[in-house]
Amino acid sequence: MNHLSRRGFIKTLGVSAGALIGTRLGGQNLLGLARAAAPESTCLVVVYLNGGFNAIFSGADALTNTAYGVTANNATALGGVVLDNTLVNAIPMSLRNRVASVGINHGISGHEEAQSKLFMADNVSGPLMLANAIGGTGAIKAAVVGDQMLPNKQMPAPVNNVSLQPITDMKATIEAIAGATPSPNTVDRDGAAKGLVRAQAMSKQTMAKNLRSLATLDQGYASAVATLQKPVQPFSVAEFNAAYNLKGAAIDNFPAKLAAAELMVRSGANFVIAQDEGWDQHDDITGTTVRNMMSSRIAPSLNTFLSRVVEGGSADRNVIVAVFGDFHRSIVGTRKQDGTGTIVPDAGHQANLAAVVIGKTLKNATTGKTDAKIGFPAGTPGIAGFWQLLAAAARVDTNPFGPNPHPTLLA
């Protein structure tokens, strides 16, 4: 990262130098030596579609004219990666050569097990391992936006003091980062930092006896103080509301989640996850329902996010976006309908998955194309291979997950 490119970033976003002091973007002159294990400001943003991720979104060509309504007209080839148009339309033109799909042969067809294991590396949180390995100076290094926990209601144990922080309110988050409008009875950031340090000290006795049950509170003190001790970064709620067409500060819909994801990326986070519910579509035997969900709920704000954060900041930041869910839907079979017992068609659970990964360190290549029965070739890596790829795409000094088994996907 050179000095000129940093200036370009500042001009592009229209923020002051103060906005950058809190992150590595400020460089050594302003910050002192940034403890970065990745060469530039780096973040993995996960878009998690809770319930399932149809293969039409990660390797549609395997299903052309055979399943889920895939035709030559509703999918687009990005090099060797063929995706449904509803997802392709969310990707800015200049990023379409930076899209890969990665196969994850996890062998899991249960929701809870998939949601648990997709975010674990051995017995440690994959997201927090990666956030720790990326390093940097962000006060909040890992965040879940709009929810309290990871899928399957997991709140992972911290890794080297990197904890997962829930971000559920834009206004409150921005006030912590930028400060509230001053008034006699409004708290100031510096004062709040001092007060919270003392509050944490006064909580030691209580914490010592409740290490697990109050773990989130203890982590909250540390992250809040770290955030408040960073220099002010001038974000505004109005800017995000305008960009993502939001109505309020609560992060309770997908556009708001991606707005919060942008806020976290720009304030120095290394991992962010935004979840969307309702993707366990057993009755969707033509793929119409998930196409409609993708085009109406996900694509508009994903396009905004990719344009502003990935495309717009590509000179100074390495932001990787991974879109996936629990598993693929299987070739349509049958099931007994709940209640009536009637036999009905069923888009069931396939025990594998491919994720779409977008970012400047990726290229149009795939290890995630299935066969016509939505199966993977033998030897396709599992969940560990996915995290190994993500860490390689993040360009960390030392890949904490091991060597990347998907080297063909990297630019």
């Binding site: 007060g195 003392r198 109050l214």
Partner: protein, 218 residues
């Protein structure tokens, strides 16, 4: 008519007492954990008052998959892991109790504490944003209610010690330790020594107490 009832009560009490004694009298085996440390001064086990006695409480609870669904339960020490983070709804009434009024911004801050869909329950947790928001609400609530003339005077070591201890007792519903009061005094007197508005210094001390775990958990 009363005599048989008394006898039955005595007999029942005796049986219960025997069972209680029996729990502590079991061998220190996989089924029975004694409330004793292994290296007592007399060569035998010494009593650890933080460790509960326990006894074999029953057979495994096997589910349809043959898994004992309580198999992962870990015995814990007495009084540990009992406290939980107060949810937004509880904080609202707790501010009312502590300050006599709910901070003005409380109603507009619900999202900062996590959004739980109607008719659903989620175990409350905390995070950087909810902790900061709690502090901000507490500060404004404290400032707005600290209208007494005494809060127009900058805190001294003596006045802060008295006021901190009073607030701690009221907010936390227990007597603070000397160290806890010292933290509060140092905050009001030293950390905010350069703050020109005395009332804000007091409000910070008050907010710090209302953000400590003794107030934000129960």
């Amino acid at each position: 008519m009363k005599h048989p009832t008394v006898l039955r009560t005595l007999a029942t009490s005796a049986c219960v007492a025997l069972l209680v004694v029996a729990c502590d009298g079991l061998d220190d085996s996989a089924e029975a954990r004694r409330n004793a440390a292994p290296d007592g001064a007399d060569g035998g086990p010494s009593v650890d008052p933080t460790q509960p006695g326990s006894c074999k409480v029953g057979t495994a609870h096997l589910g349809f998959g043959g898994t004992d669904f309580v198999g992962k339960r870990q015995p814990g020490a007495l009084g540990e892991e009992r406290r939980r983070v107060k949810p937004y709804s509880a904080l609202t009434t707790e501010f009312q109790r502590a300050l006599g009024q709910v901070p003005a911004g409380m109603a507009g801050s619900v999202a900062a504490f996590g959004i739980v869909p109607a008719r659903w329950y989620a175990e409350p947790g905390a995070g950087a944003v909810s902790v900061y928001t709690t502090y901000g609400l507490a500060f404004s609530g404290c400032y707005d209610t600290m209208t007494d003339a005494s809060y127009a005077q900058a805190p001294t070591a003596a006045t802060a010690a008295a006021e901190c201890a009073r607030m701690q007792r009221k907010f936390w519903q227990r007597t603070p330790t000397p160290d806890e009061t010292t933290e509060c005094v140092d905050l009001a007197v030293t950390d905010f020594g350069a703050e020109p508005v005395a009332r804000r210094r007091w409000a910070h001390a008050c907010a710090s107490l209302l953000t400590a775990a003794r107030f934000t958990s129960y």
